[in-house]
Assembly symmetry: D3
Amino acid sequence: MTLSNEPTRPHDQLREVQIQCGYLESNPASVLYRSGKTIVLCTASIERGVPPWMEGKGKGWVTAEYNMLPGSTSPRKRRDRDGKVDGRTTEIQRLIGRSLRAIIDLNALGERMITVDCDVLQADGGTRTASITGGFIALSLAVKQLAAMPVIGALPPVDPQAVLPKSVAAISVGVIGDDVVLDLDYLLDSAADVDMNIVMTGDGRFIEIQGTGEEATFGDEQLVRMLALGKKGIAELTAKQFAALEK
Amino acid sequence: MTLSNEPTRPHDQLREVQIQCGYLESNPASVLYRSGKTIVLCTASIERGVPPWMEGKGKGWVTAEYNMLPGSTSPRKRRDRDGKVDGRTTEIQRLIGRSLRAIIDLNALGERMITVDCDVLQADGGTRTASITGGFIALSLAVKQLAAMPVIGALPPVDPQAVLPKSVAAISVGVIGDDVVLDLDYLLDSAADVDMNIVMTGDGRFIEIQGTGEEATFGDEQLVRMLALGKKGIAELTAKQFAALEK
Amino acid sequence: MTLSNEPTRPHDQLREVQIQCGYLESNPASVLYRSGKTIVLCTASIERGVPPWMEGKGKGWVTAEYNMLPGSTSPRKRRDRDGKVDGRTTEIQRLIGRSLRAIIDLNALGERMITVDCDVLQADGGTRTASITGGFIALSLAVKQLAAMPVIGALPPVDPQAVLPKSVAAISVGVIGDDVVLDLDYLLDSAADVDMNIVMTGDGRFIEIQGTGEEATFGDEQLVRMLALGKKGIAELTAKQFAALEK
Amino acid sequence: MTLSNEPTRPHDQLREVQIQCGYLESNPASVLYRSGKTIVLCTASIERGVPPWMEGKGKGWVTAEYNMLPGSTSPRKRRDRDGKVDGRTTEIQRLIGRSLRAIIDLNALGERMITVDCDVLQADGGTRTASITGGFIALSLAVKQLAAMPVIGALPPVDPQAVLPKSVAAISVGVIGDDVVLDLDYLLDSAADVDMNIVMTGDGRFIEIQGTGEEATFGDEQLVRMLALGKKGIAELTAKQFAALEK
Amino acid sequence: MTLSNEPTRPHDQLREVQIQCGYLESNPASVLYRSGKTIVLCTASIERGVPPWMEGKGKGWVTAEYNMLPGSTSPRKRRDRDGKVDGRTTEIQRLIGRSLRAIIDLNALGERMITVDCDVLQADGGTRTASITGGFIALSLAVKQLAAMPVIGALPPVDPQAVLPKSVAAISVGVIGDDVVLDLDYLLDSAADVDMNIVMTGDGRFIEIQGTGEEATFGDEQLVRMLALGKKGIAELTAKQFAALEK
Amino acid sequence: MTLSNEPTRPHDQLREVQIQCGYLESNPASVLYRSGKTIVLCTASIERGVPPWMEGKGKGWVTAEYNMLPGSTSPRKRRDRDGKVDGRTTEIQRLIGRSLRAIIDLNALGERMITVDCDVLQADGGTRTASITGGFIALSLAVKQLAAMPVIGALPPVDPQAVLPKSVAAISVGVIGDDVVLDLDYLLDSAADVDMNIVMTGDGRFIEIQGTGEEATFGDEQLVRMLALGKKGIAELTAKQFAALEK
């Protein structure tokens, strides 16, 4: 099974990951995250205040937006400019937002809102998991930035350790024929009968499991193997995230 | 743990299910599906031809739409009339569509399109799983209807057994404190730390697993217990589906 | 003239009416209204406060929304999800709203807003008049519910007799060839040269008359006969409304 | 009762009407129609072919669009630019279209489409009836123009007498206190308890009657008086239409 | 070069201009502006207060909207009713707004907002420059009207000389073959290789220059000639504006 | 005048330009274009066929889309997701499209469509001129790519020299107090009284001039100085474009 045109990668191995923190001069909380040919620019923007339905609770909010640039795919992807964000985009950005909110302490954040934008410059499969993994780094950088700012007005100072006690990363696994494969690029994803995205904390607990049989079904044994492989991938990604943040 | 105001239901027991096939005189492929207080009207509409991107492949297509009536919740839910179907609705109808397509043989269907509409008349939790379980019944009724129609033009006759070789049902499970609970109604869902929707075939294979920690996480042991309880629920729902269809 | 496939109904007779008050357990102000094969679910939802342009006048507001479910017609009706509610829907819901506001005392209601949703489950002609007739029942149930609630804050208590001193019902009449016909179902409506909707109070005064020659015209004599037949129908519907409300 | 700031006009008298045919040099089928201070520019545009759902029937189609310019009212009216044409506009343009289609022979027109645009430059009540009355003149001018054109291709030549065998005009009447009043300007309309728009052919038959009690009701006797006064007004408008067209 | 079907006009001469101030009885700040066959109705509407982002600065705001009526062109122009104002319209109304704001003293205006609507009744080229030239007249009339009003509340009285110390007018020039031509009508515009719109103050300073090679380019010499001819036209238009305002 | 926080740059000097051709592995016609802190990703996508209104003429089409990523500015820029592309965006992408079409021979291109996407990753003024200058490079790369492709079907082979006989670049100039300044970054732009964008061919002819007094005006002498400085900048950019393309 050598569908991908990358030099053959073992089924249990991640694609090469490159993380460039502070990619944009104007926003320190920006990350260019590459996983193989997939490139996502993650930026975290901080605003004072929260959406109206959150006001007065002393809590903050984190939301995410996901977008693929038109040139990121071939053929070119049309822009979402007719007022209808497509269903796939909506699902992905809701997933990113939930994943980040699962590991942040919104009370410790105070009444601040952080928007994490994940813009895909080049898409080769795994853009949603790359967005979560890279989005966590942008979020961490934003929280560090907040902690370094002078405290103004009634908002509490920010303790990064209290705000972000855990980390989050995500990876895909799939079933292709008899194999269970880690980190599906576009070609592998097209060939997969079952596709599962796993979102976990750095300390090994599940945040989200989304497994889908694409016009196929799967049994218990395959489920167990996919989960095991996913955990291995998450552990490796977590290490890369912390290495990038410590630089 | 007696959060629900229903007479206390054991944690491993489904709500009462009522299935009324042919609810609308004008469309035999209509089902009024009740699970406790949740009421969903599922109707399947058949069209000749398929969407443009499917044309000429000799295959059919199945799609689903989901909607909550304004009076189905309290406070009243606003209609989606501003051109923005909300993210939750989009996610749910994509899930219903995928689930139904996983068990239908689109080649055996021929170039026909079936739209399954799931309109929630009353919502008390579990509307998406009720829509899948009821939607399968509407789809089965539509396929029976097709098989009974005279064949016109170039379309092949329909063999219900070939078109729908399997069945599909769905149920939710959750973690509330130390308990794992089957079939969450609104109150139970609000109390749950983890919420998982399981979509399975009648013969016990997974189509979709969506488990989410709502501002919480979960470990391996809880995952195993949720999956086991879900399987039990699916088996019971499958029996009810076939009983209703055989009447 | 036996166009309809119902057992032949005399031209001056209504279709069979069934009224099921409190159809939804979660909302007492809900009615399932059937007129022949036409089925409309009417629910009235109460909110404190009024739209911004009504604030501070001490008056309430009543509005209506009308919608046909996709499965209510054959072929399936597309949902209004592109942000364009079609002209017919807009006209009908404005008519329902005006009709209900004509018989309610908005001052006696106080600064409360009631939305009456009319969702058509099955359409066989006369959905707008069924919505008005059923909508009045839902509105009455909501006002009773309000009167039974403890009074909170500055809002005045509600006297149902003062809020709803009159009733309203509606019916269609038409001209088919030389006949004047009461209560047009879909087949009769398609055959009619002239179509008139009449909205009247229970005590016999007009609220609205909308008569349209569909690519035809009508003279004085036909107008007089249509109005007379309409009054007869309204009187019968009024009796059925009060019977249902008294149960 | 001297609400209007015009020099007092008897209750049974129309406002002054001015009709300027061929107002736009570039389109002979254009009319500037004035009724008192209400000014409507009506233009009829001809296209070959008909909407897709009309194709192949050998029939034509007439449709109308209605719009109020922002400066036509005080305070300024916002443009319909957010994709939501308001309900009132939709109702009015549907009424204009129905009224014009009631007197045109679409078979005699052949597969041509005529769009009648009614743009209100200044609004002082009665804009919908002015649009119908002026719209008929624009439509007549367009039909004359068609008849004068050389016949191209498969379309039949146009005989104006066959295409437009009748004329149409419209007027409002209302009940103010004990009076029945013809041709309501803005001030009279605001004061009216009942408002009725009557659309009739030039030979005295009804096309449309729309009578509405504005938070009021009306009885048989008022109805009879309104219809009589309306007929008188229509007869006078018909004479003015033909005078303008004969110039 | 005699492309236009008007009696031949020298290349350096404007089309005939007619200016009718106070065209609408209900709004003194209304102007019917004609330049040859191009007819634009310009109305200025005054509101107290400014948009939210301008509040509290003690300054006013002027904005413009531009629209072509469907009957203004042949073939008929579709209305902007789908929520997408086309790019050309957006550009033009931004240009009109900027041009008017360049010569008004927003501080002297006080917290008032003036909207200048430019609705094109008939289009024969040069509608954007006619809108600026006519829009200035409507704006001047509105400022005069403001000055004549009693001062209410905290707003300062208006000194027309201080609010509008300068005037603005606009004209097009173009290159057709070897000629440089003033004031392009539709036919000239279609023939032009280069099209330039010039907006200037009455005292001869540039506000805006927009020169575009339509699939062509232009050199320094042509630029110089276009600017000279444009200045000549502006001077003549300025004289006509003041003549109309002084009547 | 040292408004910018960059090391002081002489008024007649461009910001540093960096051009990275083939930035995306998946699309050779991609360029990362940097001018100082402004970063634009330009990608050109080729499709066979042209928009419907261009069909059958044997000509191609070039269009452009422009977008600022949310993280490109501070505060964060909201996405255009409500179906309303803002006026500024519309103007800019129309300008980019016109500029590129002015130097391409659409007949030589044949019935192909090229879309040039300009996505701004970081914005520090001059994004529209950077998009034109970088967009030309992406377009050139796409044309080279086309020329290297095997010719399929009826489309003519592509001769890059014939398709793109000229080049195009763009730059801004402005007036700040008494100075005329080249290449305005964000701070300079904010300080400018007059802002002019100049689009020119590589051989020194104008394609577009857009000069705007921002609540100010300008005279002949300033215009002459701005044009001279702009020409100098364009010449330097042209050299950089060719250097990048020759690598």
